[in-house]
């Protein structure tokens, strides 16, 4: 009922393949972009810098992981390590006096190189074995970072990240940092949106569906898996660098531990494999839901007057949060993105039951 489709026709093929042919979609994206741009005006700094900003950066990171998991169909349990490589590379580069703009590109390249070198070895196996080899990447990186003082600055050390400088201007305000995150997130999103209509995107999907079937029709599956690893590592590396630059302002090995890898994986799976809007939902769900649950339970406890022990209060949100994930995946195994699409489809054919022909 929201999506009006009468009068949409195309006189050439490029228009026929537009990303958003339906005006309602364009309106929605336009309004969301405007809201995002105006966020520093109407949102208080606490929400802006501790909820909205990390959500955007993590969305970009999740999109990178979605590229390898959702598009190319390859397991990756060491995504946080890749982000960590980017983070450390960027911090070291800026400390060495390299401008931040170049440093984050270096961070991406470093992550891409290490990621794909590792992929060379890992891609010789498939499925669960690949999952385990990527997990190895996580542990190798963890170990390397904490045992090479040149990288970590010593065991248990925290490496301070210099302030971001863009074209010589120091970006220190909350709004400025937020815009950096927003621009990166929008960039990654538009890259991912366009990916599905490129030869690369179609090849990745072919590999995902069945790699040897793809090989039969002339898609070099090893090559495309490698490209997928490299591209996703690049996005992960830059996202890691931006996470440090805009949010943490300092880097420690714990920020990119195996838990974080699992969390990133959860974002993609809860959001929906191969779904772009799903990555937004997934990142929001994983990042924000524990906090929301916490406040909800404390509020409910005072409202209805039942007293909870400190212990219970700490663990109950976690239990609810886990139950929610299971619940959502039971309702729709393809994730939140698919739930959104179901609602959209329902409205698209409204008031009829389904599209005909």
């Amino acid at each position: 009922m929201l999506f009006r489709q009468a009068g949409i026709f195309h006189t050439d093929y490029s228009a026929d393949r537009a990303l958003f042919p339906i005006p309602a979609d364009r309106w929605m994206i336009g309004i969301l972009l405007l809201l995002a741009l105006a966020a520093p005006i109407y949102m208080n700094t606490l929400y802006l810098s501790s909820y909205l900003l990390p959500w955007l950066v993590w969305t970009a990171g999740a999109l990178g992981l979605n590229l390898i998991l959702g598009w190319a169909g390859q397991f990756h349990l060491g995504y946080a390590a890749v982000m960590g490589i980017g983070a450390y590379a960027a911090v070291h580069a800026t400390r060495a006096g390299i401008p931040w703009e170049i440093a984050i590109v270096l961070a991406g390249i470093t992550a891409a190189v290490i990621g794909s070198v590792f992929a060379f070895a890992a891609l010789r196996v498939k499925g669960l074995y690949l999952a385990l080899s990527t997990l190895a990447l996580q542990f190798v990186m963890d170990w390397t970072i904490s045992h090479v003082p040149a990288i970590s600055g010593g065991t248990q050390a925290t490496l301070q990240a210099p302030d971001i400088r863009l074209l010589g201007w120091a970006v220190t305000s909350d709004a400025g940092l937020y815009y950096v995150a927003l621009v990166w997130c929008v960039l990654v999103t538009s890259f991912m949106l366009n990916l599905r209509r490129t030869a690369l995107g179609r090849a990745l999907v072919a590999v995902r569906e069945k790699d040897y079937a793809a090989a039969v029709i002339g898609v070099n599956s090893f090559y495309f898996k490698l490209v997928a690893f490299a591209t996703s590592s690049f996005i992960g590396g830059v996202s890691g660098a931006i996470l440090i630059g805009t949010f943490y302002h300092a880097v420690t090995p714990e920020q990119f531990s195996v838990d974080v890898s699992i969390q990133a994986l959860a974002m993609v799976i809860v959001g929906g494999l191969g779904s772009i809007i799903g990555s937004y939902f997934g990142a929001a769900f994983i990042l924000l839901m524990p906090g929301v649950m916490n406040s909800f339970i404390s509020w409910a406890a005072t409202k209805f007057g039942f007293s909870l022990g400190i212990e219970t209060l700490a663990h109950l949100p976690q239990a609810f949060y886990g139950a929610l994930i299971i619940g959502f995946l039971l309702i729709e195994p393809l994730g939140l993105g698919k739930i959104y699409n179901n609602i959209r489809d329902y409205l698209l054919v409204w008031p009829f039951g389904y599209t005909k022909k």
Binding site: M1, R4, Q5, A6, G7, I8, F9, H10, T11, D12, Y13, A15, D16, W350, P351, F352, G353, Y354, K356, K357
Partner: protein, 641 residues
């Protein structure tokens, strides 16, 4: 309101020709889109300048093939830009372009071709070329066959076969070599010359050839414009059969004179999708098409989820009752007034959007009478549906309903420039610049129907004191029961057809004591109904005789009866084992019922109904495409309504 600049465009002059107006369009707005054709997923556009070039090259090419003034060109195929261009080219050379229904049987086309002595044929594709080659074998005089789509025709070595592209290339060469040819071709045709040669629908006999001159056609367009039917620069979908005068009068007549954007669907089967893509601003359809669309909506709602169905039923009932009040001259109630914007957002808007009816400024039904319920349904949706009354003989435009003055029983006022009077016998007579000058080679028929410039339409009707015209039906259709009750079968049939389960109906009862009906169920709607209830069936015939289906139809008949006077209620009905088919001659190509054929063919059924039998054994001769003739026997049950 008007987007265009009438000062630059056609100034309503009728002393000109289509090709001259086309040339004027090409000069005034060379780069504006004249035609769009959907092909391989995208809409290919042709500007007015390009269209003029195509028509001129085609005309030059035709002349090279010795097409002279007075020659007849048969046009066979679905709506295609090249077929339209070919018709314009024939008109520019003073020849007759004679479109025929693409699904017409060979016999029908042979009749047209022989009568007119056609020497040329313009065919859409291999299928139509094959038909024409068959005709030629049977002695038709067709010398040159021009085809649009070359697929499958490469190996044909028949003489006189030439592709459109070859013809164009030849013509283009001539136009370049002889610079005067362009202007000469544009100026050659005369206003009195033929623009198109169509056939009247022939619901009462053999179709008669009607030649409309450029002047007739343009006068009709002018009258309709002044009557508010359309404006300059409308966007239309050219999907009506090219052999129906309505198509030529809208797509070519008004389309060129008022520089419409003419959109041509990819195929007949994709019309609904293409309609949604284009969302035209002007849409003319036969009542049949509106009925079909309504059935589609009803069937798809039936198949929707309960929540959607609930919302739909609530708001449609609301809108229909509001619309009925409005048509009776009343105001909507407060509740109706308050809820209508919500209904528009929830139900009416989305339904219109699903079928591309959101931009309609002019929505018309024409060709025959429309069922009242269908009419009210679309008005309730917010589509300003209006009736258009016209004949082939009057270039399609006689009278239309005014936007703010729609009444159920009238077809509106006569258009400016159209004089209407009622003869002593109650027949509608029309005099206008758009009235043709006579049937092709049928002087007697011409004398019968044209008297001092007044056309005898054959329709019965009367003028209301305020000038609104009421059309009762075909003069020959008005019949009386044995008890002297006067009725028009068509009126009752239309009421029956509002039920989604009834596709066609023939009401019987002339000279009998009571009325009864032969009913053809709607395969799609009843099929789905049966499917949802787990009723298994093997064929249309089988489905039509299922007791549950007969009960369903009986309920629909009872519903219609409740609104009819006692003497005109249907007492009995029979569900027919097949649909009425134009190939069997039971209906015309424009789907008007041929009563004499139905009454003759289904005499056993009629006898059974009035002979108070409970069942009737119907033997039907079936001619297969292979030429074999078989007999099908069916026992049909006669039902009390």
């Amino acid at each position: 309101m008007s987007r265009a600049e009438p000062a630059l465009a056609w100034n309503f002059e009728t002393d000109t020709t289509l090709i001259r107006v086309l040339a004027q369009n090409a000069e005034v707005f060379p780069d504006r889109v004249a035609m769009r054709e959907k092909d391989k997923g995208i809409w290919n556009q042709t500007t007015w300048q390009q269209l003029l070039e195509i028509v001129l090259c085609c005309a030059a090419g035709l002349e090279e093939l010795d097409f002279k003034a007075g020659d007849v060109m048969l046009v066979l195929g679905d709506n295609r830009p090249r077929l339209y261009a070919g018709m314009l080219a024939a008109g520019a050379l003073g020849g007759y372009a004679m479109p025929a229904f693409p699904d017409a049987t060979l016999d029908e086309i042979r009749h047209f071709v022989h009568e007119a002595g056609a020497r040329f044929a313009l065919a859409e594709d291999q299928e139509q070329v094959d038909k024409i080659l068959d005709l030629r074998e049977q002695g038709a005089t067709i010398e040159h066959i021009i085809y649009d789509d070359p697929r499958g025709l490469a190996a044909y070595a028949n003489p006189g076969l030439i592709s459109w592209d070859t013809l164009q290339a030849k013509g283009a060469e001539l136009v370049i070599r002889n610079p005067n040819l362009r202007n000469e071709l544009i100026a050659r045709a005369q206003p009195e010359g033929p623009a198109v040669f169509v056939h009247s629908s022939g619901s009462t006999g053999k179709p008669k050839g009607v030649v409309l001159s450029h002047r007739n056609l343009l006068a009709g367009v002018r009258n309709a414009y002044r009557g508010g039917a359309f404006q300059f620069g409308e966007s239309i979908l050219a999907y009506l059969p090219m052999a129906w005068v309505g198509d030529f009068a809208v797509t070519m007549g008004a389309g060129i004179a008022l520089h419409f954007t003419i959109n041509i669907p990819e195929r007949q089967e994709t019309v609904l999708q293409n309609l949604r893509e284009i969302a035209p601003t002007f849409y003319l359809a036969a009542p049949r098409s509106w009925d079909n669309l309504l059935t589609t909506i009803q069937v798809r709602m039936e198949d929707s989820s309960w929540l959607k169905r609930l919302v739909y039923k609530f708001f449609m009932a609301l809108a229909i009752s509001a619309e009925k009040r409005k048509l009776e001259g009343g105001q909507p109630t407060l509740k109706q007034w308050l809820l209508s914007p919500i209904g528009e957002w929830l139900v009416y808007g989305p339904i219109k959007d699903q079928f591309g009816l959101t931009r309609l400024r002019g929505a018309f039904t024409g060709g025959e009478a429309m069922g009242e319920d269908t009419f009210v349904f679309y008005r309730a949706l917010g589509i300003k549906l209006r009736q258009l009354y016209g004949q082939t003989e009057t270039s399609a435009y006689n009278a239309i309903q005014d936007l703010n003055e729609v009444r159920l029983h009238t077809v509106g006022r006569p258009l400016p420039g159209v004089d209407i009077r009622i003869s002593d016998a109650g027949e509608i007579l029309v005099r206008s610049g758009s009235v043709f000058s006579g049937y092709f080679k049928q002087d007697e028929a011409t004398r019968e129907s044209l008297e001092d410039g007044w056309l005898h339409t054959g329709d019965a009707g009367y003028l209301e004191p305020d000038g609104h015209l009421v059309v009762l039906g075909r003069l020959s259709d008005i019949v009386h029961t044995a008890k002297g009750e006067r009725y028009i079968p068509n009126y009752i049939e239309n009421r029956l057809k509002f039920s989604p389960y009834i596709k066609d109906a023939a009401v019987l009862g002339s000279g009998r004591d009571t009325l009864s009906a032969i009913i053809c169920i709607d395969k799609e709607a009843v099929g789905l109904w049966a499917e949802l209830r787990g009723i298994s069936y093997i064929s249309y015939a089988d489905l039509s005789q299922k007791p549950q289906v007969i009960a369903l139809i009986a309920a629909a008949v009872k519903h219609v009866n409740s609104a009819l006077p006692h003497g005109l209620q249907l007492r009995k009905f029979v569900c027919l084992h097949k649909e009425f088919d134009a190939d069997d001659g039971e209906i015309t190509r424009t789907r008007k019922i041929r009563r004499n054929v139905v009454e003759e063919r289904y005499k056993p059924i009629i006898d059974a109904i009035y002979g108070h039998q409970n069942t009737v054994l119907m033997k039907a001769k079936v001619s297969y495409e292979s030429g074999e003739v078989g007999v099908i026997e069916r026992t049909l049950s006669v039902q009390e309504a």
